[in-house]
Symmetry: C2
Subunit: 617 residues, 2 copies
Amino acid sequence: MAALCSIPSFSTTTNSFNLTSPYHSLFFSKSSVNLPQQSTPFNTIKCSLSRRPEYTPNRISDPNYVRIFDTTLRDGEQSPGATLTSKEKLDIARQLAKLGVDIIEAGFPASSKDDLEAVKMIAKEVGNNIDGDGHVPVICGLARCNRADIDASWEAVKYAKRPRIHTFIATSDIHLKHKLRKSREEVIQIAREMVSYARSLGCEDVEFSPEDAGRSEKEFLYQILGEVIKAGATTLNIPDTVGILLPVEFGQLIADIKSNTPGIENVIISTHCQNDLGQASSNTVAGAYAGARQLEVTVNGIGERAGNASLEEVVMTIKCRGKELMEGLYTGINTRHIVMASKMVAEYTGLAVQPHKAIVGANAFAHESGIHQDGMLKHKSTYEIISPEDIGLHRSNESGIVLGKLSGRHALKSRLLELGYALDDKDLDDVFWRFKAVAEKKKHLSDSDIEALISDEVFQPKIIWSVGDVQVTCGTLGLSTATVKLIDADGAEHVACSIGTGPVDAAYKAIDIIVKRSVVLLEYSMNSVTEGIDAIASTRVLIRPENGHTSTHALTGETVHRTFSGTGAGMDIVVSSVRAYVSALNKMLGFKETAASKESIDNSALKVPSEISQVSF
Amino acid sequence: MAALCSIPSFSTTTNSFNLTSPYHSLFFSKSSVNLPQQSTPFNTIKCSLSRRPEYTPNRISDPNYVRIFDTTLRDGEQSPGATLTSKEKLDIARQLAKLGVDIIEAGFPASSKDDLEAVKMIAKEVGNNIDGDGHVPVICGLARCNRADIDASWEAVKYAKRPRIHTFIATSDIHLKHKLRKSREEVIQIAREMVSYARSLGCEDVEFSPEDAGRSEKEFLYQILGEVIKAGATTLNIPDTVGILLPVEFGQLIADIKSNTPGIENVIISTHCQNDLGQASSNTVAGAYAGARQLEVTVNGIGERAGNASLEEVVMTIKCRGKELMEGLYTGINTRHIVMASKMVAEYTGLAVQPHKAIVGANAFAHESGIHQDGMLKHKSTYEIISPEDIGLHRSNESGIVLGKLSGRHALKSRLLELGYALDDKDLDDVFWRFKAVAEKKKHLSDSDIEALISDEVFQPKIIWSVGDVQVTCGTLGLSTATVKLIDADGAEHVACSIGTGPVDAAYKAIDIIVKRSVVLLEYSMNSVTEGIDAIASTRVLIRPENGHTSTHALTGETVHRTFSGTGAGMDIVVSSVRAYVSALNKMLGFKETAASKESIDNSALKVPSEISQVSF
């Protein structure tokens, strides 16, 4: 029947997936009622986590294993305002390693010196930190199809135990015509040469992406993919760059590539789905279904425009349904670290997760917590298909409210460890001091309180300015007045006062008088992170210097303005607003200083070709 | 081949959709490269909006027309904390009518008297307001399968030109066993009787949903659906209540129901997909693809847990790809009202939209605004598949910054009309007064500024308390002190002062002293709605009274605590926080008063059976 239906049967080199089977069994089963026939499989969704197969770039020994490629630090960081410091990138990379992702795309080294340094740091540390099971993530760097980009990428990732260069060039007619202004033949030649060049540097793990594959002519795709396989590519990534495809189409695209590309049995097929029509997660799962064995995702689904397929949705879908529907597909993700990864990425990028976000939204399991439990809900699985514990969700009313002002340093340290924070003594001291100050005012501290304090104390940029005192008067009478005392790196105190249209405006103007920088405030937001009227407020600001730092955009090659976010926590919203602003200022000032220290960077890696807009420092 | 593949060809009574064609052409085409062959169709996505067919409950004259059933006011309002006032529900219903949705599920009238009154009000006003094209939305009320619920629903919707009762009962074994404790035979009998009962009241438009259809045994589904068709149901809605299905499965479920249910050719099939695994929008589109001609969605995808399929994703997917991929499917939605609907629902429910939300997220089109335009992006369609104007998105840098302190009332009124706000003279006066006050302090007012002022002045509950003056002192020295003057409904002034852990805490405590109610503050959040350091801050709070109002949950039958949100805008964050709190208090106090005025409600409709937890008033 496969032949009748024009569905080619798949080669079994990469995996044993047989297209006639899954598509067939779902759409064209002998009995058309074979699917949710019994309620049993839905009621007891439990997966035995199979062991992760040994890593070889171009093949996977277990045909049912699906690699998770996380690009939060590359595609995610391209989101407007999501600029991360090197420290934040390293924190996220560590958390991704904990999650067990197979490949971390750590950045786009040619975009800026900071990015190159950050990828290098991640390659050196996270890329060499082998866990108890012998797993260490591949560290990957993006590069356009030119030598300078590939050099920069290799310079950054080569320190990892498993380095990968990911190079791409657009293949759709619309991109060829309007962006590249090149013919198909030219594009094939560039792709072939650059993949060879990447291999020639000593990199044995090279990924190639035909950008905008979703809108590319298929015969041309088979041709260019066949050529880069010959040139040494080990993973072929198929991006739906503009997010225009539906799951049936994307699945078909992967199936077609799998059956028509010469040499495809020797490489891994990968998916990369943008979310412009809200189809990214479904498209990604459809891709796995059709034979892709690497899925590119981001934590919380962040990324350019409407973002990417979200790690948590894709991973939990495969976990919940992979066994039953997809011939036993599984990933190596330890899902219990999902919630912490989600919180960290939301906090650092400032891209909040909406309450009704699948898996990680605040309401995703709220039928349990928000609704009065009066015994009517007799059986959990009537409305719950994932257990909150599976993704590492512990609610404050379960595990929280355990610490108060009499709690000691040891109790705090234990709770922090349970929450996933392993602090050094210096950081613990700082948090403990703040903890006691808050506990004086607030009877019980929940886990969320503690996490807010940690993010305020620990996840902060290098201190250039620190907040001394703040004093504010405001109200409906107008004439808001703020006096601020800041302390500089040498310990000297600086005091200024200002009036403003509100207390925060007044305080920020007083800070501007001290810091003497022209700053544009792009965003300001605040949340109470804990319930109750004595909640801790967490403030976030996003700023950019008037004469901004820039970097190069991965896809368009445009010059992008760097923006800097800062967070602050406290029970006084004016004080937390001041902390957030000073934190963002420190990040901005620190960024400039890093860029100035040119001696730390291998300049040979950074010969940016002249046709590409130069990075500005 | 259809026979070989066991795919039954569809009847053409409801529509001419032929299953062999769409599934076939995508998965089993003669040439396996037939899809995105040319780049042309992707480059020029434009749909000619066909005329909406005449409304008949159980059939659609044009087989390609897909009805949009919006349940923002019912399923969406079930989100934790999303409680809406009657005024807010009416505003949203009006906006849904503007959007051109075919059916508005306005509420669950048996859940509380307020809900019944709100549905009735919407039925009377929005349900009789025929637009220029002769379109008036169906007004639908939800009801469990019992006479009291159906009576309440009919009592509420019967005033509409096109009233509909939507009744449901669970059909999955897990729900039968743990929730209903009934046999399949009992469930069939109840469903049949209650559909007949709804018809017997004079309602010619009855929708039936087998709850948890996604986990129900298919043969049982065909049987119960066949029975309710005989009993007079005109629409059969298929809910994936726990959001467990993948698009291929959900599409197959719809196709199977379409081919195996006796009498199905005489009714409309509908989809209702929850988003627990992030598959809701794709599942819904897959359902349309397989023959469903009514799609249940919510604005912004809000709803219980991870929410529902989102209206904007489903509608824009059909608009972008319906012609090309789905034999010309189309909806009657005027997409230019999407952005305004999204903003209104986010504002009223307090369920924010994440920046990377597809279609309506702040970043969804940010590659245009956030990234420096230096001529590198030579052709819009290289990265843009939807034009922002298509969904009614006008950015402040395009249409904004047109009003300043010298602008007059007429200029403001014109701009408000352009933004979609038709205010009466009283409301215009209020907004104008605030506008001038802000314009005194701020040079230019963008559209966002103006929208913030409107939501602060116009979309407010009936005034019980209003804010007089606020005066606050705070800072790192502690001892935050606030003095607040509130004015009661009779114009009398009340002043109180309090200290607190921060300025907002102090102000809220002062208000509590005046208002004398025990209130739990559940959430507090703030955003600057406009860029720049003199931004207008918009504050939102969510509160609940200590001895709360409750209502009945539609699906679980549980008692749900009512919560109340309030918003406030202003350039001083303490003042805007006070406004938000007083707004929420007014909503809460007003809600109680409505519930007390029993004479306005037809009590005969409210005999709630004893086995269901009684609503509390």
